[in-house]
């Protein structure tokens, strides 16, 4: 037995008290802060669910075609979407899709700027790296409990949990991509008197784009892995079907919903990869 030097209940008690005070003081403010995202999510959801199914399928096909210029990919992805509808999971799929889109959007808005700051400042980077490790390894329920206390069960804590889990790879890959830009190309830009923003926009971002696209791809995949957890705290959609399958011991329901999640994953993965490849079109020098 490890000797009990301090009573851990003291720590727990202090933390509980702090959280309680925090919830009372900040709940309203934070709720207002996150309200726009909730509005956005509701907007996406109603848009996707009110649009006719064939329009969504056509849209997926069109986006895939613009990315890859390959009819085989278009056929694959449209077919996958149709299978999801065929399994009777269209509406749940659209709910999950809306959640995914909002989470991806937030991840991009948060992740890319943080990645850029990390690439600029070694000190900020050394501060961020352990934070990113914690975000990826801390069990999500640990921060979901205070989140639910703050926002109540529903979509906001679901979005929060998903983003916290999904954004680290995007931040890491943005930082890595910018740091990997050829030093001579950076020196060239600097030698012509480019300032920091000019270097960022004209040199670093375009050259880091394949890595950033890989980060977005990773973020969407991680986000999909969170849908079941998200459904436990009140987000509807495919995850909820899986959850119901588990709780009612209906293996069939769980399996079909699981297949639908995989279908969404394939659609997201192939589309983001196609755009990632396009970003690399001319990015190779034969020096």
């Amino acid at each position: 037995m490890f000797p009990e030097l301090v009573d851990p209940r003291v720590f727990r008690g202090v933390i509980d008290d702090v959280v309680d005070v925090f919830v009372v003081e900040w709940a309203t403010f934070l709720e207002q802060l996150f309200n726009p995202f909730l509005q956005l999510l509701n907007l996406f959801e109603s848009l996707l669910m009110n649009s006719p199914w064939w329009l969504i399928v056509a849209l997926v096909g069109a986006i895939a075609y613009m990315g890859a210029r390959k009819w085989s990919l278009v056929a694959l992805l449209c077919g996958a979407m149709l299978v999801m509808g065929f399994l009777g999971l269209w509406e749940d799929g659209m709910r999950t899709l809306a959640l995914m889109l909002v989470c991806t959007l937030i991840s991009i808005l948060v992740g890319i700027p943080l990645g850029i700051f990390m690439s600029w400042s070694d000190r900020f980077r050394s501060m961020m790296l352990p934070v990113l490790d914690i975000m990826q390894t801390m069990p999500s329920f640990v921060y979901l409990i205070p989140a639910i206390m703050l926002f109540g069960p529903g979509k906001i804590p679901a979005v929060l949990a998903t983003v916290i889990y999904a954004v680290p790879p995007l931040i890491r890959l943005t930082d890595l991509g910018i740091r990997m830009v050829d030093t001579e190309i950076m020196e060239a830009a600097e030698s012509f008197g480019a300032n920091r923003m000019q270097k960022l926009v004209w040199v670093q971002m375009p050259l880091a784009l394949p890595n950033i696209m890989a980060g977005i791809n990773q973020a969407t995949m991680m986000a999909l892995a969170m849908v079941v957890v998200a459904s436990m705290i009140g987000a509807q959609g495919l995850g909820y079907q899986v959850l119901q399958g588990i709780t009612r011991l209906e293996v069939g329901r769980g399996l079909l919903a699981g297949i639908a999640i995989v279908i969404l994953a394939v659609v997201f993965d192939r589309i983001t990869q196609a755009y990632g490849k396009r970003a690399q079109a001319h990015l190779h020098t034969n020096s």
Binding site: E184, E187, S191, G193, A281, H282
Partner: protein, 357 residues
Amino acid sequence: MTTNYKIEIKNIYKVFGKDPQAIMAQIRAGVSKSDVLADTGHVVGLNNVSLSIESGHIHVIMGLSGSGKSTLIRHFNRLIDPTSGQVVVDGENVLDYSKQQLEHFRRNKISMVFQRFGLLPHETVLENAAFGLKVQGVTRAEREVKARHWLEQVGLAGVEEHYPSQLSGGMQQRVGLARALVNDPDILLMDEAFSALDPMIKGEMQDQLLELQRKLQKTIVFISHDLDEALKIGDRIAILKDGELVQEGTPSDILMRPATAYVEEFISGVNRAKAIRVSHLLRAVASARVSGDASYSPQNVDLSKAARLGQSIEDVMPQLMSGAQTVPVVNEANSLVGYLDKSDVIAALYRTAASKV
């Protein structure tokens, strides 16, 4: 300023490590590079380098890898800041510049060409050439006109819409050269600009640079590890070894009067017949009387038997074989400027007797 030097580098020290300033005293006191590394873990990149570069000249900085030459050239436009010392351009210490002044300086006065070209792979040749103007905020139409002009000057008309990866190494470096010239800078920094190219392309690029230089009269600082290249294009050559300046002078100084054993070894591999030029061995006409069998005057020069100033000894072998002890030398305007003495040529070629030149 009273000098006509375009650029003056004064007592530059560059130390790499955790706390370079702290060990400057040791270095100034003359502790050797290897001792500094062993004692403090600091690397001495440049050790008290001073260099003056005249306007309109091509000044070659030579050295093997690790000699600090690429570090040195990056001090001219402050891609690297020295640990101690001054970089004076047109009488102003560049190290005193604020961020804005430095950007202005880099945008208008000084450009750089890189060994591995440093082109933007996602932009077209035209966009790459116009990069310096884009940084300055020049409108697209205007910068494209200028970029097209300079691309044409370097022989790249017709590939404006290509991407760098579609071009050969030599063509990519021409883009780099055009990009550097578009800003119309006074000073051109060329960091091993032709080192990555095939020997034949390299020769072509050197010729093109010399031809452009005749028209443009820029101040060019050229880094090279290739002595043949240095002798071909340099008005003056500086040789660096382990971060220290070993010798600085004209090509003929380096070839005829190597200052140290290191320089001597350095030049031993050179094809002297090709490297030594007529101008290096020229004797003035006034001293023609001592040569005995011929006296030269502008009237009796046989142009077919004369050597030209810019030719190498190899080029004038036929004239030297002709039997006479001396060969007249004319300049580009075909007027007599002096003569070559065969014994000087032999001495210079084989470094036997101490050359009097």
